[in-house]
């Protein structure tokens, strides 16, 4: 039977912390970009111009039906081969943003559609302009429906950022694999890793809960 010895990991504390930092950085940055992309795709799918609608729907449909790893390899290895070189960091950010943007577009659609159409009629009766209508009638009430699903998506994105380790981006998973091969303490290494990811995702869920509780007060 294997004996557990977590002390073997103590020399690697700073490496692990560094990995957590990189995971956090890549997750936050790509989620911000994914939100922008998702909003554009959502608005594109509802656009009155047919070509815009078609392109947006193709983006959403294609990305939702292929693995993120393929998108990442396409960008990192595929475009790299054609001379368009991305660093592992930017390749990971791009792949995560492109992938999650498609899911967020659906989340935005579901959330904004849940706003009753009576509100839109009321807005036009009150003489609100298109921008005012979007801001006060579509966006603000819609965002309420969206926060929980978007939080889930952010947690998923953070967990999936571990895939960036496959292109040698030094995130938490990458460092764990390195420590594993250096110490051969497989159970300890991946137990600590799983616990850290679990803490990260729980922290995001709790933070979002607090945030939405504050926002629900309007």
């Amino acid at each position: 039977m294997v004996t557990w010895d977590f002390s073997a990991l103590s020399p690697y504390k700073s490496i692990i912390l560094h990995g957590i930092g990189e995971t956090a950085l890549v997750s936050v940055l790509s989620f911000a970009l994914a939100c922008v992309l998702g909003l554009i795709a959502y608005l594109g799918c509802a656009n009155h111009l047919r070509p815009v609608r078609v392109i947006s729907s193709i983006y959403v449909e294609v990305i939702r039906n292929i693995p993120m790893l393929v998108v990442l390899f396409f960008i990192y290895f595929g475009l790299g081969e054609k001379g368009l070189n991305f660093s592992p960091f930017w390749a990971a950010v791009a792949a995560l943003a492109i992938n999650n943007g498609a899911y967020l577009a659906e989340i935005f659609r579901a959330g904004f559609q849940a706003v009753p159409s009576g509100l839109h009629e009321a807005a036009s009766a009150l003489g609100l302009g298109p921008f005012q209508t979007f801001r006060h009638v579509t966006f603000m009430p819609g965002i309420r429906n969206i926060i929980p699903a978007a939080t889930n998506q952010f947690i998923m994105l953070m967990l999936f950022s571990s895939v960036a380790s496959t292109v040698a981006f030094p995130d938490l998973t990458y460092e764990l694999q390195r420590i594993n091969s250096a110490t051969l303490r497989t159970f300890e290494v991946f137990t600590v890793g799983a616990a850290l990811y679990y803490v990260l995702s729980t922290a995001i869920a709790l933070a979002a809960g607090l945030l939405s509780r504050r926002m629900y007060r309007w």
Partner: protein
């Protein structure tokens, strides 16, 4: 050399991906059903254990689970031989099981309590109540999130390439290197994934449409609650 020269190896790899999907879907669903039913058990420690399991597996990356099974299983059971395929399939099963368990719990909770009371009044045993009353009614609600889980599973099989199994994504990488056309290789690989996933997604849409027509709403009220959104929407596609 043209990319189409490698169609055979890509097809063989696609078969491997489908095998992983089939294993993960069957074993994962069975395991998820067990865990989901344990969450409804009247024995508290079992309920806690099942809740802990789903919560942890849903809160860690699938890649960590796969690395765990790949490096861990041979260490834990040194006298058994584990291929990359088996390690990957077990990792996927454990992961899928957690999501299916969540869907099963949601489905069971959607059955009105009056049904449970009626079953008890009729003198059905716990097992009979589950089999004859609860599950048949829960299934309709379980199917939509289950399809979402299957879609995510197809995409998650790509991660088994990380532990060295030659499935579709890995084959795409190899073919790309050999043909000097990585871009085309991954475009082709993406097309195969799309061809597998798209019909599943369409079926899901059709089914939800039918459910909605029968008056059953399956879109869960999204809500951030205690750890990891216990009641939050079951992600219908994941981020794989």
């Amino acid at each position: 050399m043209s990319i189409f020269h490698y169609t055979d190896s890509l097809l063989r790899a696609a078969v491997m991906t489908l095998k992983l999907c089939a294993f993960g879907a069957v074993a994962g669903t069975a395991w998820g059903l067990v865990v989901g039913l344990l969450r409804a058990s009247s024995f508290r420690p079992l309920r806690w254990l099942a809740a802990l399991y789903t919560s942890v597996l849903r809160g860690v990356p699938i890649l960590i689970v796969l690395l765990f099974t790949y490096y861990g299983l041979p260490l834990a059971m040194p006298n058994l031989r584990f291929s990359a395929y088996i390690c990957g399939a077990i990792g996927l099963t454990l992961f899928v099981g957690a999501y299916v368990a969540e869907a099963v719990r949601g489905g069971l909770e959607s059955v009105p309590t009056g049904q449970t009371e009626a079953a008890q009044a009729l003198g059905l045993s716990n097992f009979q109540r589950l089999r004859l009353v609860m599950l048949p009614q829960a299934v309709r609600v379980i199917v939509p999130p289950w399809i979402g889980i299957l879609l995510a599973l197809v995409k998650e099989t790509s991660l088994v390439s990380v532990v060295g199994l030659v499935e579709l994504t890995r084959a795409g990488r190899v073919v790309g290197q050999e043909s000097n056309n990585t871009l085309a290789a991954f475009a082709l690989v993406a097309l195969v994934y799309f061809v597998i996933c798209w019909p599943i997604g369409q079926f899901g849409r059709w089914y939800e449409h039918r459910l909605a027509a029968s008056g059953l709403r399956t879109v869960h009220e999204p809500a951030v609650s205690n750890l990891l959104g216990e009641d939050a929407e079951v992600p219908t596609g994941g981020a794989a």
